[in-house]
Amino acid sequence: MIKLNNLHHNPFLEAVNKKSGADVLDCYQCGKCVATCPVSSHMDITPRQIMQYIKLNQKTQVYMANSTWFCLTCSSCSARCPREIEIPSVMEACRHLAIEENVYPNSPKVKEIKRFHEIFIDMVKKYGKLYELRMMAEYNIRSGNFFKDIALAPAALFKGKLKLFPEKSKNMKAIDKMFKMAEELDKVKV
């Protein structure tokens, strides 16, 4: 049950506005974002609904939806929003808040997406640059889908699209330091 008389104090709205730099109260629910969004049909709740949930201080609904994880950050929505709200920033703010509070949707697809991002970042941590081959191998192993995209491998390797050996940044000490300090600032180990 939503208690409307408590809405003069909306910590979720304040937190999202602060993090995103946008003002969610600008949204007048026209739905143009939903019509434009390439993945809105795959989302549990649409961008328009997310804006409304924020206005109603319903953070759990937003955190538990797959929506912010499916967001492509393609900015099609904000290009067309008549109120010029930076909707991708709002989606990102909600997602970052959820990560800070360690709340994730139960969806297996979201787990896959999160896994991919974590492995990607781990590769950059180890090499300073993305080592694509190892990233794809680790992803396949950790997701239990060993043969994913295996059909692409021969062509990709043969044509030199996937490098066999990694290329490291010249100053790995600087990269290590950056990661340590950034993780401190983020207060979340990725």
């Binding site: 950050t73 290009a79 995209d149 990725v190």
Partner: protein
């Protein structure tokens, strides 16, 4: 002589080596000197900003600082995603001094000065080099070739970050293609998202979104799709056979980099284009180029439309 500082990005020596190589020979033809950075790191792409706030700014900031060490010339980035991250970080650093101080503590190589402009390769070619200079270098016009120019999301969006061309229906790549002698077809899906970095974690989504782009390109009568981003190229090219299988229809549309088209039109030998690296064979497009300009399309006489008379006219 124009100079730029080049940020290659992680795919430049692997997935998009042909883009890196043809970019270098094309810029040489355009009398632009490419200065390489002594060291650079991954920009963090999608993953860093999805999962983190500060790391997502630290990674690009180091690249900005390393570029400033090279010169004050523009930092030009061939990958649209890297460009978007670097530009977004620059805007944050320029406008928020406290944030800048905080993030700069993570970079030991130096202090951010804000002296370098950040541009995408397409933007640099269009704004700094210009269509006239491109036209001057054309030795072998790409007559008869019908090109669907695919921009993807990040070359022109978000508007306040890219601040270049149109977010809805950009024409910069189209103009370059026309300057090369080819025909840029009217392509409704030129800025529709291909699914980007979900290529591995949510492949079905990429198959769906990229499939639509290929379908509309085919309907528009395109021989090839031209791109200016390794991620776009990868999804449209590497996943094309998978998409054909899932849709039960053939596309056979090669996906080439705008720099490969420029290199070809500037008279570089075909071997320099590295077409053999494409998954969907790109060599067939060479056979579609004519030896003379195509015949002017017969002009259709416009049908006189019934127009409602204004109030003044009827009275």
């Amino acid at each position: 002589m124009k100079k730029l500082t080049y940020y290659p990005g992680c795919s430049s020596h692997g997935t998009s080596l042909e883009y890196d190589h043809t970019m270098r020979i094309t810029l040489k033809s355009l009398d632009v000197a490419v200065q390489d950075m002594t060291d650079w790191n991954c920009c963090g792409a999608t993953s860093a900003h999805v999962m983190t706030e500060n790391l997502a700014l630290a990674l690009p900031l180091r690249n900005l600082i390393m570029a400033e060490k090279v010169s004050n010339d523009p930092m030009v980035i061939s990958c649209a995603a890297c460009y978007s991250r670097m530009k977004a970080t620059k805007i944050e650093m320029d406008s928020k001094p406290d944030l800048r101080k905080k993030i700069n503590t993570t970079v030991e190589e130096g202090t951010y000065m804000g002296t370098v402009d950040v541009k995408s390769l397409l933007q640099y070619c269009y704004e700094d080099v210009g269509i006239d200079e491109i036209k001057l270098r054309v030795k072998k016009p790409l007559w008869g070739l019908k090109v669907a120019c695919y921009y993807g999301c990040l070359l022109t969006r978000p508007k306040h970050i890219a601040n270049f061309d149109s977010a809805e229906y950009p024409m910069s790549m189209d103009h370059i293609v026309e300057a090369l002698g080819a025909k840029a077809v009217d392509f409704d899906y030129k800025t529709e998202c291909c699914g980007a970095s979900f290529s591995i974690s949510n492949t079905e989504l990429v198959v769906e979104l990229t499939g639509k782009i290929l379908e509309v390109a085919k309907e528009a009568g395109a021989d090839i799709i031209a791109v200016a981003c390794p991620m776009c190229q990868s999804n449209l090219d590497m996943r094309q056979f998978q998409i054909e299988k899932s849709r039960g229809e053939k596309f056979d549309i090669p996906v080439v980099y705008i720099t490969q088209l420029m290199a070809l039109a500037f008279g570089h030998p075909v071997s320099e284009l590295k077409l053999s690296r494409h998954i969907v064979p790109a060599e067939p497009m060479l056979g579609k180029i004519l030896n003379e300009p195509p015949q002017e399309e017969k002009k259709v006489k416009p049908v006189k439309k019934a127009v409602a008379k204004t109030v003044e006219e009827t009275e």
